[in-house]
């Protein structure tokens, strides 16, 4: 474990050396997602300025939901973005073989190969939203609540990673995984708003099948003092289970991998 942590540090240092070669690109890349977030946020602001609440959620409360899912997404974006590229960049080119002959876990190698600076912008936006929301609502941050927030964001990040890992594994069969990953990944858009605005079936799917609800709606409800029962505490459990499942799926895929012979 410690060996892997220090290895990750080495990978990170190398990655930053590469990134710093192209400083302008680094800055554009890390800040550009802020514009996309701004589009979504401006929309919510423009609309909610004119109505008292969205299904009983005030503007600042919706920002908390939006902020939590954005933070969780940014964790995945920074540390596991390479799951998107596995098909076209590693498997199809045969570059994946490189990971298999090295004395470290291939999944670790894949993730550590590319820290993605593009996620920094999302992280900043998410953090700003949580701060703005809690200041406007006058939330009191006890140490327990801070711990809850950190664990909620990490669990949310893990849910993003696990779902992306499951879908990325399809690359071992299809040579290309982005289409599948994209469709599942995009369902997180639902989790930017209170799950209670949707049909019951949709919120069930986002709780038990594609559990992005645990990355936003349930922890936000708890932090805002709304009663969602045990759901407030299930996030880390769901994340751990999903990670375990996704790792099994990955191992099955890995066994299936036979290289492209190029």
């Amino acid at each position: 474990m410690i060996r892997y942590l220090s290895l990750y540090r080495e990978f990170l240092i190398q990655r930053f050396k590469i990134l710093m070669e192209y400083r302008v690109n680094f800055i554009i890349g890390s800040t550009s997602t802020i514009f996309v977030q701004a589009a979504g946020l401006l929309t919510i602001w423009v609309v909610m300025r004119q109505i008292p609440s969205l299904n009983g959620w005030s503007f600042d409360e919706v920002l908390m939901i939006y902020g939590l899912v954005t933070l969780a997404k940014s964790i995945n974006h920074m540390f596991a973005d390479n799951l998107w590229t596995i098909g076209w960049y590693y498997v199809r080119s045969g570059g994946f073989d490189r990971f298999l002959v090295r004395p470290i876990d291939p999944l670790f190698h894949l993730l550590a190969d590319r820290f993605c600076h593009d996620g920094i912008g999302n992280f900043l936006v998410g953090a700003a939203l949580v701060v703005k929301s809690s200041v406007s609502l006058g939330l009191v941050w006890t140490p327990l609540k801070v711990l809850y927030l950190v664990s909620a964001v990490l669990s949310g990040g893990a849910i993003f990673m696990a779902l992306n890992l499951i879908t990325a594994t399809s690359a071992f069969w299809l040579m290309e995984s982005i289409p599948v990953t994209q469709v599942i990944f995009n369902t997180h858009e639902f989790a930017k708003y209170p799950l209670s605005i949707y049909h019951k079936g949709i919120s069930l799917i986002l709780t038990w099948l594609i559990p992005y609800g645990f990355a936003s709606f349930y922890p936000a409800s708890y932090l805002l003092g709304r009663d969602v029962g045990a759901m407030a505490w299930l996030g880390p459990v769901v994340a751990a289970m999903l990670l375990a499942i996704s790792y099994r799926v990955w191992l099955v895929g890995l066994r299936h991998y036979s290289g492209t012979g190029s």
Partner: protein
């Protein structure tokens, strides 16, 4: 004169006819976009229903009108996304720029032919989406053929405005060589100010001012408000005129900027 014109049309016509073939080769992406758009529609329908839960009209628009507008905007939205940035990035990286410039036809005109063919193909491919929106989300389409005609003209004009704007914007790639970030910025700004996420009527005055000062609304808000009935037919000539002014100035700007920017390019030895 006539023969030359016919020859020119034949050349650019064959460029345009290549577009469907490349599309068919990547049909998986057509499906992905299809799923994503249905997903976005579902989210928007529930979001707007919750917004209108209090009943009545907001900014003079009823729930029905707003949903009609938003559903149509979501179907058209991918058209307002940029392609030129990626295309320029690609031809610079691969060293293809030289080849494009050496060809005995106008580079921009050839790309436009490709782009307009994409527009037609796109509309065809999206027909199932329109049917789904009509069946499940209560989309209403106008019965008056004049509205359809006005929409078609506004769409082609607006598409051209965005095409020439993107041409000028993509010239930034000659300086930065970074394209992902450029396209993300462009997409974020366009998604909001084109009116794809929320009708311009909802925005406070100063934001509407910004939206009108940017070209994106010409490509999306204008045609969609005609088709969804937000803009009455009597307003159409004025809307067209504004679009044409945008079109002419963007065309001039894009050619000028390209001529300046292309001098700076260092083609990587691909």
């Amino acid at each position: 004169m006539m023969r030359r014109l016919r020859r020119t049309l034949a050349i650019y016509g064959s460029v345009a006819s290549m577009t469907p073939k490349t599309f068919l080769a990547y049909s998986i992406w057509v499906w992905v976009e299809f799923f994503l758009q249905i997903m976005a529609m579902i989210i928007f329908v529930y979001f707007w229903r919750a917004v209108y839960a209090g009943g009545g009209a907001l900014n003079g628009l009823s729930l029905r009108q707003t949903l009609n507008y938003i559903l149509l905007a979501q179907i058209i939205l991918p058209l307002a996304q940029t392609r030129a940035v990626f295309r320029f990035g690609f031809i610079i990286r691969e060293g293809q720029l030289i080849i494009e410039l050496l060809r005995p036809l106008d580079f921009q005109a050839a790309e436009y032919a490709d782009s307009i063919a994409r527009l037609g193909l796109y509309l065809l491919l999206k027909l199932p989406l329109v049917v789904i929106a009509w069946l499940f989300f209560g989309l209403q389409l106008p019965a008056n053929p004049a509205v359809w005609g006005a929409f078609a003209v506004a769409l082609v004009l607006g598409h051209a405005v965005l095409f020439f704007f993107d041409w000028a914007y993509a010239c930034l790639a000659f300086y930065t060589t970074e394209t992902w970030g450029l396209s993300v910025v462009r997409e974020g700004v366009a998604a909001f100010f084109s009116g794809a996420l929320v009708p311009l009527a909802f925005m406070p005055g100063w934001l509407q001012g910004v939206a009108n000062a940017l070209p994106f609304a010409q490509g999306l808000y204008v045609p969609i408000s005609i088709l969804s009935g937000i803009a009455p037919l009597s307003d159409v000539p004025r809307l067209w005129l504004v679009q044409i002014i945008w079109l002419v100035s963007m065309l001039a700007a894009s050619r000028l900027i390209f001529r300046v920017a292309v001098r700076t390019v260092t083609v990587q030895g691909g």
